[in-house]
Amino acid sequence: MLESYFSYIIRQPVISAPVFLNLLPILLIWRKRAYNEKLLLILFVYLILKLCVDLVMFDLASHRQNNVIYYNVSIPVRYVLTSWMYYYEFDNKSHRRWLLFSWPLFVGFSMWDIIHTNSSIGDVHDQNVVLYSATIESLLMLFWIMLYFYDTIRALKIPNLLTYPFFWICSGLLLFYSSFLFIAPVMHYAARWDQWMDIGTLDYIPYVFESVSLILFSIGIAQYRDNSYAK
């Protein structure tokens, strides 16, 4: 079993790296007890869920099994948890309301997309990557991130962005979703079990920036001080 894992890591180091990099921010949150802060507790829960999904997908990939169903299901969960952090950071009530409003809509849309893309849900072997959800998720997240940055520079409520954990988290998310925005729709056509299409470097870009975002999350959490977290 371990042999297949090691073999996969050696074959696909770029894809495997973010799976294990998940541990870095998780351990930092645990060590710094940053989970006492609501926003970082949500990040903690998201990272643990992501680690679990990534490990399952890693296991399936190393055993040459289709793991796309987990990826498809993780999209709405990822959106709800990552955008939830913005709920606590937005001061504007209407922004919060729109954020809350987007959750059921996006979750419903994702479910529809999974069903629409895959005629048979029970057929795990022939699952395809969703057609629209990942792109819509990227667009929505980029919108919330830009809105948050706009609010930040307008309100001047954070004296030093470099020591503010959520700025690093936001930057990580911005880079990840920016790298993913144009590649996400292509994945539906490229990542097919029986008709694999080689898209070269493009395939690795989201994984590279997933690792970068996890490192940025870790830098942000490292800035966390128990009594100085300013909303």
């Binding site: 954070i158 004296p159 911005l174 925005l181 470097t201």
Partner: protein, 287 residues
């Protein structure tokens, strides 16, 4: 196949462009935030300096006005009272020659009233302009102030300093310390119902510290500042200190009463020996 490669290239370029934009957004937010904070800080500094200037001007005007009143009291009323006393002395001799006891008694009463008024005018003049401070320095002025207070009140006021020869400081600084000491002691007498006041004046290489402690009822400075009129004295102290980059701290000692500590950076008097100031010279005071 060629179309496929072109599509991949287009996607790669689009993704890289998107990533560059993301990096640009992050850099822009950091840069813009920094610039805005610097701008805010600059405006705050200008506002602070302007307020300081206003305060300084207001205090200068207050001191100038005090001096003008003292001068008028001395030059006009004081002179007239002295002349009145002189005339009364001459009249008293005439009355004494006439031998009328009733007239003599009225005359003596008038003389004593004039003398008392002269003393009052002198006291008011001294209160308005601390001439001892200007001539002999802070320690002597505080000692004189204490001496006068002890005469008028049933109070024990102790004064000590960590140096025998307190070096002369800039005129503004000495006056600020003196007025703060006056305000704190007057507050203690008026509001604290105390029987003992300790004044400590300390100086080191960098700072001058003035501590006024009483054994009265004590007070919460924050609550007093919140109430509009009652906090004027304390606000006045803070305003005076703001001009000389000083700070004030209030404490409530465990044994009761209250303690105020004012700290001001040392600002020695300039090399030229300050010209002795006379309270009754008509000039603008630059504190």
């Amino acid at each position: 196949m060629q179309n496929n490669d072109e599509l991949k290239l287009a996607l790669l370029i689009a993704s890289l462009a998107m990533l560059m934009m993301a990096f640009f957004v992050i850099a822009f937010v950091m840069y813009y935030q920094k610039k805005r904070f610097e701008e805010e800080k600059r405006i705050n500094d200008i506002e602070k300096n302007y307020n300081r200037l206003l305060l300084d001007t207001a205090l200068n005007s207050e001191e100038t006005e005090r001096r003008r009143i003292a001068q008028d009291l001395h030059d006009d009323i004081g002179t007239m009272l002295s002349l009145t006393k002189l005339s009364l002395n001459q009249l008293s001799k005439l009355v004494a020659n006439s031998g009328d006891e009733k007239e003599e008694s009225i005359m003596k009463k008038s003389q004593s009233l004039v003398e008392e008024t002269i003393l009052h005018v002198r006291r008011i003049t001294r209160d308005l302009v601390p001439t001892t401070l200007e001539r002999f320095g802070l320690m002597e002025a505080i000692e004189e102030f204490i001496h006068k207070l002890e005469e008028d009140n049933n109070l024990v006021i102790a004064f000590q300093s960590n140096t025998e020869e307190f070096p002369r400081q800039g005129q503004k600084l000495e006056l600020t310390l003196y007025r703060i000491m006056q305000e704190l002691v007057n507050n203690a007498i008026k509001h604290a119902s105390c029987t003992k006041i300790d004044i400590v004046l300390e100086i080191d290489e960098e700072m001058i510290g003035l501590r006024v402690t009483d054994n009265g009822v004590g007070f919460d400075p924050e609550k007093i500042k919140e109430s509009n009129l009652a906090g004027l004295g304390l606000l006045g102290i803070e305003s005076r200190l703001a001009i000389v980059n000083g700070t004030v701290q209030y404490e409530q000692p465990a044994k009761g009463g209250s303690s105020a500590i004012a700290r001001i950076p040392v600002n020695p008097a300039s090399g030229n020996k300050p010209e002795p100031l006379h309270p009754f010279r008509r000039e603008r005071v630059n504190i």
